[in-house]
Symmetry: C2
Subunit: 239 residues, 2 copies
DNA sequence: TCCGAGTGGATGCGTCGTATCCGCTTTATC
DNA sequence: GATAAAGCGGATACGACGCATCCACTCGGA
């Protein structure tokens, strides 16, 4: 049967043959969304995305019922990457190295993709898939931690949930320092690793220097951007 | 010039004798504001505050030109506390103990007062006084760090700015875990301290256990609350 | 050529927070 | 107790912002 047989549209289960221009626009939208989510986080509006894709808002809504749908279809892949990275870490012959590599990769990804970072550390509203996946990964991180302890490099008092919390901690640094010193998170991850290592003296020196004194105000101000309801300003009425 | 030149602190203006009921209301507003800011952060609206104080919004605006003014007049005192705590830490005969005590007190305060936490870690818009005070404190934290290094308990690669960043990191944990495990921050502060200590083996064990596995989702969801623009939901129009 | 799938973006709707306005109440004073 | 001014309250305007729709149109494909 040589039916249409075209390459099935990425996500869609081969139901509807999309018109040529429609398919092209769908791609444009997906690309624009990926880029904007990565750059500015999940807060971007569908209007932003439409405009950036060079299409009208209506076109976006025609394809995706709402932002959630768009997000879900976009990040499926990214989550697979994370799962893969975690599996690789568990399989690493050197458990400590596996752990460190996992965290490193994790934050490199989060540094690159703001939207993904938000999905990982913030579990926006309804996105069920995210929490489901997290549940799926928990047993793996249990293993990762257990193996690292066994190797004697990780302290006994460390818990797998600490790996979740460290994502919040380092994630916040990442956000705050993003524009000033995008690599700063490495320093604080290293400090954390020292703090959980049973043999900190064997660890390499801190990979990056401290944030410069005069940049602290900017870091703090940027941090604000991630805080909600902190606005103190006025709306400036007429006149 | 020797014009009156009184102290002009917002709280005690030697200018206008406020009418009895007005003065009482001013107090009510200040009290309500203090409480709400502490509980829910700087995001509370002046309407909230007015209502909570049992007065009308108009009354609030009559006394305070805008939210910023209210905030500034409220937190003056809190900032003095912080400065005092830092000075005490620098004066501590045991520099490491001083450092630890300072951080501990710092986060205990932040745990208690959400609004203050936001002021410290987020520098909202215009509040000049905040950044001015931070500049004032920086030299002190330089000393704090220098002395701790000298004592041999703090690693040489630690920088005073790391004390600012740790506030962001621990602050984010504090926020995320506030409702689930309000003391969790102590654990992560302890890990951080191990990471910067030259003799981690001399430190006490982690003060609190890990966050329970099944609470992680809630922690993550709460963390969301502090994130801006993460909303994915709909506005649900008429049906 | 023709027609329906596809388009775009102006627009309606909802929400939220700030700040004002003005008829009414309370206080201070005589 | 009378009276003016200070003070009050809260409904409401105003602006912003984001979501989602609607509909006159364009364009792809048979």
């Amino acid at each position: 049967m040589t039916t249409n047989a075209s390459i099935q549209v990425l996500d869609t289960p081969g139901e509807k043959p999309l018109r040529k221009d429609a398919e092209r626009n769908r791609r444009l939208i997906l690309d624009a969304a990926r880029e904007l989510f990565a750059q500015r986080g999940l807060g971007v509006t569908l209007n932003d995305i439409a405009h950036h894709a060079g299409v009208g808002v209506g076109t976006v809504y025609r394809r995706f019922p709402d932002k959630t749908a768009l997000i879900e279809s976009l990040f499926e892949e990214s989550f697979q990457e994370i799962a893969d990275r975690l599996r690789a870490a568990v399989a690493d012959p050197d458990p400590w190295h596996g752990l460190v590599t996992f965290l490193d990769g994790q934050f490199e990804t989060q540094a690159r993709d703001q939207g993904l970072k938000e999905l990982i550390t913030a579990t926006p509203d309804g996105i069920a898939r995210v929490s489901r996946l997290r549940d799926e990964l928990l047993p793996l991180s249990d293993q990762l931690v257990a193996r690292a302890k066994q190797s004697g490099m990780l302290r006994e008092d460390v818990d797998p949930t600490d790996l979740a919390i460290v994502q919040i901690m380092i994630g916040s640094v990442l956000d705050a320092a993003r524009e000033v010193e995008p690599e700063a998170w490495r320093r604080y991850l290293a400090i954390f690793l020292r703090g959980v290592s049973a043999r900190p003296e064997e660890l390499p020196p801190l990979p990056v220097g401290p944030i410069r004194n005069d940049q602290i105000p900017r870091v703090m101000t940027n941090h604000k951007l991630a805080a909600r309801g902190t606005e103190t300003g006025s709306t400036s009425r007429s006149g």
